[in-house]
Amino acid sequence: MRYRVALLSLAIATSVASAQTQSGITFKVRTQLRNHPVPEKSKPDSARIRRLEMAAAARAADISTSGDAPPAGGRGNGAGGNTGVNRIMMMTGSAVKGNHRMDVTGIVGDGQTELTASQWALFTDTTTTVIDDVQHMYWPRVFDIGSILAFTGQVDAQNSRVGTLNVS
């Protein structure tokens, strides 16, 4: 009898050790970004401004001559060059309460997706961590995706240039 009890206890312990599972969900994710420049809605700066700029540059060599393009390319909205992009990323995911994870399974495009083919991401309710299986490294990350985050990034910027906002 003692022998049977011992065997039963061992079986339960082995089961617990090998299966630290929790009820959750699995899923697949597909993201896509397509963009292209629209010259007809662009406005290169006026000749007058250019003349002023050149005159100012002549007076002070250290004057800033940075352009006036919005920070569209830097936060994932994707003004990624002059010819436009078409980026697709496929992932598998799993989630339990408080944690989820997404693993890249395929990338189409120029490779400038939020994750590369060797990376996966871990999420808690408040954090995002990217893990790279090739570099054997991990780091915290914010996925800068879409115009809302582009807007909040502008609000948070040192020299915020947000002038108007309309939401409906």
């Binding site: 929790q22 969900i25 896509q32 339990v96 115009s147 909040t152 309309n166």
Partner: protein, 132 residues
């Protein structure tokens, strides 16, 4: 949701109009057995306080967020233009969709960074380190 915002031109002496970003976004929210904030749906909040002139409009956004919090964003589409009136205006569409969602037991070990992996030193740019 429709959102439009204008950025002042970088040069203070510029005579041009604000550089305008205009987007229409749609979200599909499902109450799943396990819900989470889908970071590929582009939801965020500014860390700094908004100027008084923008707070009423931002409050509308927060009302939308209450709807999004009722489950998980399983599909998202956005289309619009970035930087109209700026040097390079760009039209874009962005989509995200979750499919094949199934209830399943999940091994908790998959949510741990492998022990032999090391923390990458900061790269020096960006807002990394926390979430919007």
């Amino acid at each position: 949701m429709k959102m439009e915002y204008g950025l002042k031109q970088q040069r203070e002496d510029s005579l041009k109009d604000l550089a305008v970003t205009r987007v229409t976004s749609d979200y599909w929210v499902v109450n799943l057995p396990v819900n989470f904030e889908n970071r590929f749906a582009g939801i965020g909040r500014p860390r700094r306080q908004l100027p008084d002139s923008l707070r009423a409009e931002w409050a509308k956004m927060l009302d939308l967020y209450k709807e999004l919090d009722k489950g998980t964003i399983v599909k998202f589409t956005a289309a619009g233009i970035i930087g109209e009136n700026a040097s390079t205006a760009t039209e874009y569409t962005r989509t995200m969709e979750m499919t094949e969602i199934k209830e399943a037991p999940v091994d908790l070990a998959v949510f741990k960074v492998p022990a032999e992996f090391t923390l990458r030193p900061p790269q020096g740019r960006g807002r990394g380190g926390s979430n919007p």
